[in-house]
Amino acid sequence: MAEYDLTPRIAPNLDRHLVFPLLEFLQERQLYNDNHILKAKIDLLNNTNMVDYAMDIHKTLYQTEDVPQDMIERRADVVARLKSLEDAAAPLVAFLQNASAVQELKADKHYNLQLLNDKYQIGPAQIEALYQYGKFQFECGNYSGAADYLYQYRALCTNSERSLSALWGKLAAEVLMQNWDIALEELNRLKEMIDSKNFSSPMNQVHSRIWLMHWSLFIFFNHDNGRTLIIDLFNQDKYLNAIQTGAPHLLRYLATAFIVNKRKRPQFKDFLKVIQQEQHSFKDPITEFLACVYVNYDFDGAQKKMRECEEVILNDPFIGKRVEESNFSTVPLRDEFIENARLFIFETYCRIHERIDMGVLAEKLNLNYEEAERWIVNLIRGSKLDAKIDSQTGTVIMEHNHPNVYEQLIEHTKALNSRTYKLVTQILEHAQAPAAH
């Protein structure tokens, strides 16, 4: 199943630290050789300051107690730098920890800067040090500290470029601490900045968007409301464009969100077209499933794909998230996905059929006969399906009610009334407005 693993495509768009959860997941799923993953982890850590962690991994990987010399040197180095940065930022940190002093700050940035400068002798150098310190903390894996410092820094910083990177840092820290609500706030803030900022080249903007979308995957698949939000974000024209140009693999997540989320039907049709277009650049069972159901009407194929989808979901670090309940571990998204996918197939199937054999239907839905019958009865009872079961022949008979001609006509003209009314009010308002002036 490694062929559908997206980690290699996602990782380049993430922060080093954010890749860890993915690697952890892969290790758990045992898709790859354990040693490979450990090596990858060390590679990853080499450019961070989490030297202790790297040492631990090294030990497990090579089954030794020895640690290479350069790691030890590096550790000393990191500690020394941490020390110096801490010293540099100390005055500001001290100030910020003093609750009563912080009270003096107001919403006005310039006033604050002035105040700090006059009263506490804290100038731009210290503020800059705070940023560096926060960054260093992040690199050492102290995410909560980093998040705090970067938050404070943003309140004081005047350089928009720096402020943006502080925001990225804050977001990453919050994601790693799994504070999904705060992370979502940061995400929205960042999104606004990216959309409003003037980038030197459109290219950068597209890249930023792609990054943002990758990072947001952590949040959306953990946040309660994430499945709706992901559609809202990804399906925006600008972001969809970015996906199509730079990261078509994100379509998997969007497709999943669409399948799981029943309320977003209007956008769904457009999304199907996107999937068709991007067939040449990205294809996986989930998108193929959609193509089978909605483009080719190949229900046997859809059913096959559905089984593959299950595998894909289980092996995906984002959508395959496990929830531990007492002794069980379930994958909530998988169950939901399967249920909805089944409904998708059934819905489409019913639309074009008048009579369906239950046995065939059960097979198509990946259920046994009894289950299928129960499932359908439930649907009929929930008045989601206008049909009856003929148990003698073992068929479901659809009851198509086609609106008769008169109803159709009324339907067509219904809206006209309100539209015209609206139009008239609009014109009247406009006519009155100049008169009032």
Binding site: S201, P202, M203, Q205, V206, D237, K238, L240, N241, Q244, T245, G246, P266, D270, K273, V274, Q277, H280, S281, N296, Y297, D298, D300, T348, R351, I352, H353, E354, R355, I356, D357, V360, T393, T395, M398, H400, H402, V405, Q408, L409, H412, T413, A415, L416, R419, T420, K422, L423, Q426, I427, H430
Partner: protein, 936 residues
């Protein structure tokens, strides 16, 4: 030589008389130039008997002869006057007059000999004509009547002069004119005509047969003599130059002497009386004696420009051997530049003339005037022109094509040099030239070029050198002062794959090129991707670059390139089985019926618009050389076949209201025409084939339809023909099934799917899928009965009143729609919170715009003509219409803010499209947008 004139004089007793009488009209006795060793034969021949009875005869003979000659002389005067004021109308008249007079004179003197006076007039006219036709500006300024007269005069004179060709030449050899300045003109033009003869080998051939037949009485050795004489003269001149040069010993030649001589020759450039070939050779000689590398370089640049001068007109091309030498010179220039990195080539600053004095040992930067890129572009243009001119079906054309590696190597070297000095802007231009040589080559051709380049360039080079040394045996007496080793590669290097080469060049251009270069490179890139069947990539590039919107503002040659890229994209889409995309790409090309013109592959005749010669010439200059052509027949078959596949089921679906939803107007028209025919013969053209196939397809006979289409010869030009035909067969089956269901669904109550699969030879899942799609899209009112595998039809027949009521509601909503839009336009947008219906309305509007005017759908295809000041009132509306069309739907349609891709084409504003209206994606037929137009 003299004896011939003697005999001539004697045999024709009357000969002396006309010339005699001619004399009074000439003011002064012509004085022989001392250098002219071919004696003036007329004078030599005439004087003996002339000297004694000159006076007497003149007084005595006041005969008709005299009168006629006087008349003629006065006409000649009139001609002269007309020439002075550039009045072609009166020239034409007088020319007719003099021809009539000639008849009379001939009758009177009863001889075969054409009077000298007449010949002189002819020569005068010819010279003036040559002068006028080379002077473009003046020609433009002429009034229409004058220009017309000029053109007809040109024709007449050409025809007329043919009869007297040898006499004219003879006359030119021994100019017997009265005015000094006249002689000058003649001299220069003599060289001019020499050049012409070299340029057009067939022109050289032409005079011989004529003169052979006519000069029987003048002696058979004449023709050879005619051709030799000017050359003799020329050689003599060269000798003189060399003599001048060699008067000094090599050691005495200093920088100054060379520089002075150089300037002297340079000043003569463009003047009358300067032989163009001669100048080239003078310069070439100077390069041998140049003292410093910089000077050599300077002179070499002049050599190259002088070589460009060799061909004066815009229409002809540079002689091929000169072109080759030119390329060699450029290579030498590069050699020098590479050898002396301190020499900079520059064309922006006025330079100190002593700059080139700085010698080998000088360390600082030396500036030399010149523009490598401009030269290279000119060489390329000449290569292109020569291919345009040469008949593509001859061996000559193939030979000429073999010279391509020569240019490729030059371009490659220039590019490398420019990159080494860090001038990336210029190097991107050169890269474009290279791209333009590759982009149209499919893989096989590219391979062949690569092999050819590896094999022949060496041979060619050697040949070249030997030829050169042959030509300059006498100049090679002293070794050149500045020896330049061959530093730059003389062999082009090609990577294995054309794609890699394209990628390298194109990404360079995207990085450094200017707007136009980038656009052209992008189009070439698209073309090449399409050629390699990478439809998705090509399509993405096209849409990302927003070229479709901007191409209207570009120059015509870029527009042609755009059209070429679009047609290639269409072919590519067809090959990979995307029929509606193929149709989308090609339909606009075919909507105007001017495919040839749009692709610059020939001039299409238009009944309603006579083209002026000027327009025609411009168009001819734009033509693509034959080897770059896109097969028009193939293009047409692809277009019509895809139109058929789309239109046949569409027609079947909308039998009742034929006016709506026309996918291909062109196709419909052709179908109508073919239906009108009383008898239809077996198909001959592509069109006939497709129409025949359509007729059987309408009845659902897919096999026959496929057979007819497959019998087209052109499919053999399609890469992997078998898979394409297989695809085609599949598509035809599918559309046949659809058509069948549309047409006959009302006759069935239920229909077994097995029967359908039998009818149309389709697999069960495929048939099921097709029918299901029709049901979902509500094209077919039916549903499946799964246990029995039947389609159950639910036909609801609308009564007439009901149908009309539906139409009424439809119209009402359109009305409401347009009201809303009108008020929105007046009150400013955003005020109305319109229901989602609005989008559909927009689709409708776009569809109406597309369908309503077949003309307006031509908007995407750049209409070459409206930059040509056409006056047809229909045309004027055309452009405007197309524009408004763009505004209506275009903003939504394309503004996909994509734009990254591998090193993307980034100048487009990618941030747009955020609030863009959803484009008319429902409307597949009319625009390319729909390729990706899902999202605005």
């Amino acid at each position: 030589m003299a004896s011939r004139f003697w005999t001539q004089g004697n045999s024709d007793s009357d000969d002396d008389e006309p010339t005699d009488i001619d004399e009074p009209s000439s003011d002064t006795e012509p004085v022989d130039e001392p250098t002219n060793n071919t004696a003036n034969r007329y004078i030599a021949g005439i004087h003996p008997d002339d000297s004694d009875d000159d006076d007497g005869q003149k007084r005595v003979v006041k005969s008709a002869k005299d009168k006629r000659f006087d008349e003629m002389a006065s006409t000649v005067d009139q001609i002269k006057n007309a020439i002075k004021i550039n009045d072609w109308v009166s020239l034409q008249e007088t020319f007719d007059k003099i021809n009539k007079q000639l008849d009379k004179v001939m009758r009177v003197i009863e001889s075969q000999k054409i009077p000298n006076l007449y010949i002189k007039a002819l020569v005068m006219l010819e010279d003036f004509l040559a002068q006028a036709s080379s002077n473009k500006d003046a020609k433009k300024k002429m009034s229409p009547t004058n220009a017309k007269a000029f053109n007809s005069m040109k024709q007449k004179l050409k025809k007329n002069n043919k009869q007297y060709e040898d006499l004219i030449i003879k006359f030119r050899e021994t100019p017997q004119s009265e005015e000094e300045k006249f002689e000058d003109d003649e001299d220069s033009d003599q060289y001019g005509s020499d050049d012409d003869e070299i340029i057009e080998p067939d022109q050289l051939k032409k005079p011989e047969p004529v003169s052979d037949s006519e000069t029987s009485e003048l002696g058979n050795d004449r023709p050879g003599d005619d051709d030799d004489a000017p050359w003799d003269q020329k050689l003599r001149k060269k000798d003189r130059l060399l003599e001048k040069m060699f008067m000094k010993k090599p050691s005495e030649i200093t920088w100054d002497t060379v520089n002075n001589k150089f300037k002297e020759i340079l000043e003569a450039r463009g003047r009358k009386g300067t032989g163009r070939f001669e100048q080239v050779e003078q310069f070439t000689f100077l390069t041998k004696v140049a003292k410093t590398p910089a000077q050599k370089l300077q002179i070499l640049f002049s050599v190259v420009s002088a070589q460009f001068d060799v061909n004066p007109g815009l229409s002809g091309h540079m002689p091929i051997n000169v072109w080759k030498k030119c390329v060699q010179n450029m290579l030498v220039i590069l050699d020098i530049l590479v050898q002396h990195p301190n020499i900079k080539v520059d064309d922006s600053v006025e330079l100190d003339e002593n700059e080139s004095k700085k010698g080998d040992d000088y360390d600082g930067p030396i500036h030399v005037w010149g523009n490598l890129v401009a030269f290279l572009e000119k060489i390329d243009a000449e290569f292109f022109k020569s291919l345009q001119c040469i008949d593509p079906h001859t061996r000559e054309y193939v030979e000429r094509l073999r010279d391509e590696p020569l240019f490729v190597v030059l371009a490659q070297n220039v590019q490398e040099y420019l990159e080494s000095i860090g001038d990336f802007k210029a190097s991107s231009k050169v890269a474009l030239k290279r791209v333009e040589l590759i982009y149209y080559k499919p893989h096989e051709v590219y391979e062949a070029t690569r092999k050819l380049a590896e094999l022949t360039v060496d041979g060619d080079n050697g040949e070249e050198v030997s030829e050169e040394s042959k030509g300059f045996v006498d100049t090679r007496i002293i070794a050149p002062f500045v020896v330049t080793p061959e530093l730059v590669a003389r062999k082009p290097t090609f990577p294995e794959n054309s794609r890699t080469l394209m990628d390298v060049l194109v990404s360079l251009i995207y990085k450094y090129g200017d707007e136009r270069t980038k656009a052209r490179a992008m189009l070439c890139d698209i073309y090449h991707h399409a050629l390699l069947d990478e439809f998705a990539v090509a399509r993405d590039l096209l849409l990302m670059s927003h070229l479709q919107e901007n191409v209207h503002h570009m120059d015509i040659s870029t527009q042609i390139l755009f059209n070429r890229a679009m047609s290639q994209l269409g072919l590519c889409a067809f090959r990979v089985g995307l029929v509606s995309e193929a149709h989308g790409c090609l339909s606009e090309l075919y909507s105007g019926g001017r495919v040839k013109e749009l692709l610059a592959q020939g001039v299409s005749q238009n009944r309603y618009h006579e083209k002026t010669p000027e327009q025609e010439r411009l168009e001819r200059r734009r033509q693509m050389p034959y080897h770059m052509h896109i097969n028009l027949e193939l293009l047409e078959s692809v277009h019509l076949t895809s139109a058929m596949l789309l239109e046949v089921p569409n027609m079947a679906a909308n039998v009742h209201d034929a006016k709506r939803k026309i996918i291909s107007k062109n196709f419909r028209r052709l179908l109508e025409v073919s239906e009108k025919q009383t008898f239809t013969g077996p198909p001959e053209t592509v069109r006939d084939h497709v129409m025949a196939a359509t007729r059987v397809l309408i009845n659902g006979d897919f096999q026959k339809a496929f057979d007819i289409i497959a019998s087209l010869e052109v499919w053999k030009f399609v890469k992997n023909r078998d898979t394409v035909l297989e695809m085609l067969k599949d598509k035809i089956k599918e559309e046949a099934l659809r058509t069948y269901l549309f047409t006959f669904s009302s006759s069935y109550d239920s229909l077994s799917v097995d029967q359908l699969t039998n009818f149309f030879d389709l697999s069960l899942p495929r048939a099921h899928s097709i029918v299901s799609r029709m049901m979902i899209n509500e094209e077919l009112h039916a549903s499946w009965d799964q246990p029995t595998g039947c389609i159950i039809f639910r036909n609801v027949e609308l009564s007439r009143v009901q149908a009309l009521a539906f139409q009424l509601t439809e119209k009402l909503s359109i009305l409401a729609e347009s009201n809303e839009r009108a008020s929105e336009a007046r009150l400013g947008g955003g005020g109305l919170d319109l229901p989602p219906r609005r989008r559909d309305g927009q689709d409708y509007a776009a569809a109406a715009a597309g369908g309503g005017g077949g003309t307006s759908s031509g908007g995407r295809w750049q209409d070459l003509s409206y930059s040509q000041t056409r006056q047809g009132s229909g045309r004027a509306g055309y452009g405007g219409r197309a524009l408004s069309f763009n505004q209506a739907g275009g903003s939504g349609g394309y503004s996909r803010g994509r734009g990254m891709g591998g090193g993307g084409y980034q100048n487009s504003s990618r941030t747009q499209g955020g609030s863009a209206l959803r484009g008319p994606h429902g409307d597949v037929s009319t625009r390319m947008v729909s390729l990706r137009g899902v999202r605005a």
